[in-house]
């Protein structure tokens, strides 16, 4: 009983974390219809950008948080969107290769400037200490992940379902050509989506940095998680992504507690394979964003 309780608690914690990790990736999949393989690097830019602003430029905590968002927006538009995504929208092979190359370049650049020995430490602990629940110890910081996951998902839903710009984004995701004929400025929608997509990973990294291992190569494994969750949820459907995050969270925590933590990714991959075999379009059909 105790074990089941622990597994369920961790399923919620990991599910929220996975949701924050994959929300942006899923949004880009749905609206732009591409796979942003440069998504993994946004996590690295979030942490190391913050460290750069605080440590090298001498910013305070709150100016640095604001600064890191500006940095992310500049990065995603100036390096990912305009030179690569816009240029190779229809040539997927070039798109994916150049996005991976950009990730590699930024990763190596970060590794050169701030190697793992640099001791990057982001002081964004909201509440120190741990919580004892059913025999397991959880840092308070992890609980904030759940709070932020709920808040951001709610914000995304409100924005996409209730605002005019959100409706335009939905329209483009449903039918690009029809939306353009109805007068939606598609490129503007793309830019807004690219900007929106970097918000969850940035918040996720700011919150999780104090309790997470920070290294320049961390983007790869996070991108891997985002890809798996997005495929499982049906590409680009936020409802599917939300459900898939918690399913993957449950699989992760059960495998980690019952079998071995190292087999978590293998188990998720097998699960995705099985879902693809019987339901090739994922849990929900990716016809619209919600």
């Amino acid at each position: 009983m105790e074990l089941i309780k622990t597994i369920l608690i961790y399923a919620v914690l990991l599910g929220s974390l996975y949701l924050l990790i994959s929300l942006g990736f899923s949004l880009i999949c749905g609206v732009l219809g591409i796979f942003n393989l440069g998504y993994g690097i946004t996590f690295v830019v979030a942490v190391y950008g913050m460290w750069f602003l605080m440590h090298t430029c001498g910013f305070g905590l709150f100016p640095a948080i604001a600064g890191v968002f500006v940095l992310q927006f500049l990065f995603t538009l100036g390096i990912i969107y305009y030179p690569i995504v816009k240029r190779y929208m229809e040539q997927e092979d070039f798109l994916l290769t150049s996005l991976l190359l950009v990730s590699l370049i930024v990763e190596e650049l970060v590794n050169h400037v701030y190697p793992i020995t640099a001791g990057v430490d982001i002081p964004t602990t909201i509440l120190p200490g741990t919580l004892e629940v059913g025999g397991s110890t959880i840092p308070f910081q992890m609980l904030f992940i759940v709070v932020f996951a709920v808040l951001i998902t709610a914000f995304f839903l409100f924005f996409l379902l209730k605002t005019r710009l959100g409706l335009k984004i939905q329209a483009v995701s449903q039918n690009h050509d029809a939306a353009q004929l109805m007068g939606v400025k598609v490129e503007r929608v793309y830019i807004v989506s690219m900007i929106l997509a970097v918000v969850p990973p940035t918040i996720c990294m700011i919150v999780i940095a104090p309790v997470w291992s920070i290294e320049p190569t961390m983007g790869e494994s996070l991108l891997q998680t985002a890809i798996l969750v997005t495929i499982l949820g049906g590409l680009g459907n936020l409802r599917g992504t939300t459900i898939a995050s918690f399913i993957v969270g449950l699989i992760s925590s059960s495998i980690a507690f019952l079998v071995n933590p190292r087999l978590v990714n293998v188990a998720i991959l097998i699960c995705v394979f099985l879902v693809l075999l019987f339901k090739p379009e994922g849990i929900t059909k990716s016809e619209s964003l919600w």
Partner: protein, 344 residues
């Protein structure tokens, strides 16, 4: 004995009562035999320089992966982001059997082919099931998961990798051994080149080109698309697994951390892209170019890890058809299937 005479554009060689003609007009100089002869001469210049010999071997290995991969991308019409999964599979199969049971390279080869075949068949339904970019994504993740599995099970010996794998050729002189291994890699690459070239110019090559151009039209003309995709995927996967076998026995050690990460895959993909997509010979230019560039950039120290992808990125932007594409522009009448990756 041998009599050589020059007749217009022909070089006529007479040997006893036999007559050989060799056209010396420039358009016939594209003869692949000349290129292979040039490549075969290359290691002779580097005798006694083990680092340069191993560079040539590495280039041959890259080309040997990129040649089948080029056909695979054409044949299944999708971008495979994880060819190194089969490389790892071949390498680890050969390494495990060789280091634990002390089997020689010729004993492990059939096992590697069998394992490649089985895994190729298991994964082959993906070519039809995983629509469009799903395939790219799943193949992208496969080697990364495999890497994690190698960390988990102690028989793979984690980051250290397997060691004590029996060498391909054992000769007393180290110089001779390196030279022979280099030629062995060249032979492997040339065999792959010959096979894939034969396939591409045969009826099967036309099938794959038709699938690549338009699946629906090809299907309406009576082509069993699913079957041909599976054949293409399995054959090329086995070929890549054989390269893994070679790498394991050549280096004597095999660690997934060298061959399975994204950075290695990027190199192979760039060999294909820079050499010219969908073209068998382009892969060789690409492989030698990438290896040479990597070697030259080592003078920069640690900065080369940033400069290397940067240069490749610039090349990708400026030469979309690859190095071979510059040449192909002058020979536009020859049909070469261009790879088109589709979203659906």
């Amino acid at each position: 004995m041998v009599k050589i005479e020059h007749k217009r554009a022909l070089l006529v060689i007479r040997f006893r009562d036999k007559k050989f003609e060799w056209p010396i007009e420039t358009r016939y100089w594209r003869n692949p035999l000349l290129g292979v002869f040039g490549l075969a001469m290359l290691p002779l210049f580097f005798i006694g320089q083990p680092d340069l010999l191993s560079l040539v071997t590495t280039a041959n290995i890259y080309a040997a992966i990129a040649i089948p991969l080029g056909w695979q991308i054409t044949g299944i019409g999708r971008l495979n982001f994880g060819p190194q999964f089969f490389l790892g599979l071949g390498g680890y199969t050969a390494g495990l059997i060789s280091s634990y049971y002390l089997w020689g390279p010729w004993g492990t080869l059939p096992v590697v082919i069998l394992v490649g075949l089985v895994f190729g068949l298991i994964l082959s339904p993906l070519t039809s099931l995983a629509k469009g970019l799903y395939f790219s994504l799943i193949t992208l993740i496969l080697p990364l998961i495999f890497l994690e599995v190698t960390y988990y099970f102690s028989i793979f010996q984690g980051e250290t990798g397997l060691y004590g794998i029996l060498p391909l050729i054992s000769v007393k002189s180290i110089t001779a051994e390196q030279l022979l291994a280099c030629y062995f890699s060249l032979i492997l690459m040339v065999i792959f080149l010959y096979v894939i070239h034969k396939v591409m110019t045969s009826r099967v090559g036309v099938y794959t080109a038709a699938i690549n151009d338009d699946e629906e039209v090809a299907s309406n003309l009576g082509l069993n698309i699913k079957a041909w995709k599976i054949v293409c995927f399995v054959v090329t996967s086995v070929m890549i697994a054989i390269v893994g076998w070679f790498a394991a026995h050549f280096y004597g050690t095999f660690a997934g951390v060298t061959f399975l990460p994204l950075s290695f895959m990027l190199k192979i993909l760039l060999v294909v892209m820079i050499g010219g997509r969908g073209d068998v010979y382009g892969a060789i230019y690409g492989a030698y170019f990438v290896v040479l560039l990597e070697k030259v950039l080592t003078v920069l120290g640690t900065v080369n890890y940033i400069v290397f992808p940067l240069i490749l990125m610039i090349l990708l932007f400026t030469l979309p058809e690859g190095l071979y594409g510059i040449y192909r522009k002058h020979r536009y009448r020859e049909y070469y299937p261009s790879i088109r990756v589709r979203k659906r």
